[in-house]
């Protein structure tokens, strides 16, 4: 039919026009007017070319492979990196891998191809990184590891790890528990909600916690299950953990992050128990919603895990480009919040 054919032609013409508008030419920079490259320019030449020839320093380009957007902590981390990049005038390429390690490999490979100045990776799991880090090393691009750590034999494959000391966070939670339970006779049953299986915060918080709790032999971790650091999974897994006869129910819950603790608190309330009183609840992160629950008495202690790593990352990138060496591990300052200090701490929370 002729009319529909000409309509198709017209539409495809419009489409071609729309596509072509993407390839506008970059504004051309006037070339320097020096006659002989070996002879230093004369004063007249220098004065003529100085004004036209100055071009702004190319901004630093950082490629950041973020691992996902599963929790409030992660969103605060991403926002902090984006804000810090904007403030320091650094160009940021952000790729969200939605919890998939192959997508992180693709993102890093893309950064290598685009020849960014620094690559930052927040690795979703610890293992399997030596291949892609070797590729970045061969391409001559320094790598900074953010938040979680990588488990590689050759530590020269990355410059530094910027992130919290997860082991220490587990230790702080364990110390609070020992303190709190010092007058309570055993046996004390502890349930643990782990994060994403195989991720370093989960592994190390668990190890730190256990290293302190084993001082009391009547404190036993009777139940432990991964809940992916999300609120939904926390509620689901807690519901399952509570389905034991009431003599075997846990008296303490150690959740590896706030979102899982919040979900678990809902499950505990549904089971007819009082969170914070029947079950002592410890969590890690320090989000505003968790501190509110802390203030209401439904949480007992929250260990801080600082997500605002943006400024540290930008500073590290600038130092790397300036050729200075950095410590292998950079740890932001962190604290533990209890019910008494909750109210005044809420104001200062940025996430």
């Amino acid at each position: 039919m002729k009319r529909s054919a000409s309509r198709v032609q017209f539409l495809s013409f419009i489409m071609v026009l729309l596509l072509l508008q993407g390839c506008n030419a970059a504004p051309s920079v006037p070339a320097a007017a020096s006659a002989d490259p070996d002879r230093p320019p004369s004063i007249q030449e220098w004065m003529r070319t100085k004004g036209e020839d100055v071009r702004a320093d190319k901004p630093l380009v950082i490629g950041f492979s973020q691992l996902g957007s599963e929790s409030a902590w992660r969103m605060a981390n991403t926002a902090s990196v984006q804000e810090a990049a904007k403030e320091s005038g650094i160009s940021l390429l952000l790729e969200n891998a939605e919890q998939s390690q192959p997508k992180q490999f693709e993102a890093v490979r893309e950064f290598i191809r685009r020849k960014v100045d620094v690559i930052a990776i927040a690795p979703v799991v610890e293992s399997g990184w030596s291949g892609i880090l070797q590729e970045a090393k061969l391409a001559g691009i320094p790598v900074v590891i953010l938040d979680r750590s990588v488990n590689v034999e050759d530590t020269s494959l990355f410059v530094t790890t910027i992130g919290s000391d997860f082991y220490e966070e587990g230790v702080k939670a364990g110390k609070y528990l020992l303190d709190r339970m010092q007058n309570q006779a055993g046996p004390i049953r502890i349930a643990e909600l782990q994060g994403t299986a195989g991720s370093s915060p989960s592994i190390q918080r668990g190890e730190g916690f256990r290293s302190v709790v084993k001082a009391r032999t009547d404190m036993v971790i009777t139940q432990s299950a991964p809940a992916d650091f999300t609120e939904n999974k926390g509620k689901e897994v807690m519901r399952e953990l509570l389905q034991v006869p009431s003599e075997e129910r846990p008296q303490v819950l150690f959740a590896h992050n706030d979102d899982m603790a919040i979900g678990a608190i809902e499950a505990i309330k549904e089971a007819g128990l009082k969170p914070g009183k029947d079950i002592v609840i410890l969590s890690v992160d320090g989000s505003r919603s968790a501190l509110r629950l802390l203030n209401d008495g439904e949480l007992n202690a929250v260990v801080e895990c600082n997500p605002l790593l943006g400024p540290l990352l930008m500073q590290a990138a600038k130092e790397i480009m300036a050729g200075r060496s950095l410590p292998k591990r950079m740890i932001p300052p962190e604290d533990i919040f209890t019910q008494e200090r909750a109210e005044q701490a809420i104001q200062n929370r940025k996430f």
Binding site: L19, L20, G22, C23, L93, L94, E95, N96, A97, E98, Q101, P102, K103, F105, E106, A107, R109, E110, R113, R114, V125, E126, S127, G128, W129, S130, G131, Q134, E135, N151, E153, A197, G198
Partner: protein
Amino acid sequence: MLLNRKYVPVLVTFGLLAAMFAAGSLRYTGFFSMQVLYNLLIDNSFLLITAVGMTFVILSGGIDLSVGSVIALTTMVCASLVEQNGWPPAVVIPIVLVMGSLFGALMGAIIHYFRIQPFIVTLAGMFLARGLCYVISINTITIANPFYTRVAQTKISLPGGFVSINVIIALVVVLAAAFLAHYTRFGRKVYAIGGSEQSSLLMGLPVARTKVLVYTLSGFCSSLAGVVFTFYMLSGYGLHAMGLELDTIAAVVIGGTLLTGGVGFIAGTFLGVLIQGVIQTIISFEGTLSSWWTKIVIGLLLFVFILFQRVLSERRISIKS
């Protein structure tokens, strides 16, 4: 001739791929480089191998949902045998290939001799394989064996850039599969069974043997993809390749293979995998879009292709009558 009706779906796929690549090159600087194409192949080599196996299964009129789980099981078995038991890779790799093929053969036998829907049997196979991964180990097992790290880091230079060994393996598999499908009796039997199983049975073709062989081939391709995945990820983990079976089926369908069977080309599957990769690359170049847009675009494309296949097959029927 090129305009033969049976080539139309593959030509449409190729046209779509060319259009997308052209649009990307016009819109983004740095898109039109060979390394972008090579990176695409590097990052999707295991998907390509799996999709080739899946093409044979879908051509025969069945489906195989267990591919992602067999990949994960392969990585887990490789990692645990090489790292924890210290076996040499030269022994482990043939063992897992045989394991994958036997797994596929078992599923094929159940599908044919008990006359159960392939969907159900391979679904059960999927759960079984994934569960076996967790029996071996819940946590990741890192692979530090020098053979694996050397293979992972080898770069083969080609004009315009470099590729990895995985890409070479994938391309060899694609070529071998194309030969198998179009120039051997086995390939013709697969197409015949996909076209009509009853007719093939009446014609005297060995339907039972071919069907079991098709699923064995798919199992072999899945475990080979698992070996390639191990080189890529350097770890064994139960959560590897989650949902890969769906990406594979999408690639095969976008490549022009009819889900009802009997129609399709290996070249089409190759183009389908490339299209998925190009969409992902465009979205990462765009920068502002979430990577979930890839899934949305693939979903829409799948829908369009299935409609297109329906229209084409209806036209064929109406012309005959």
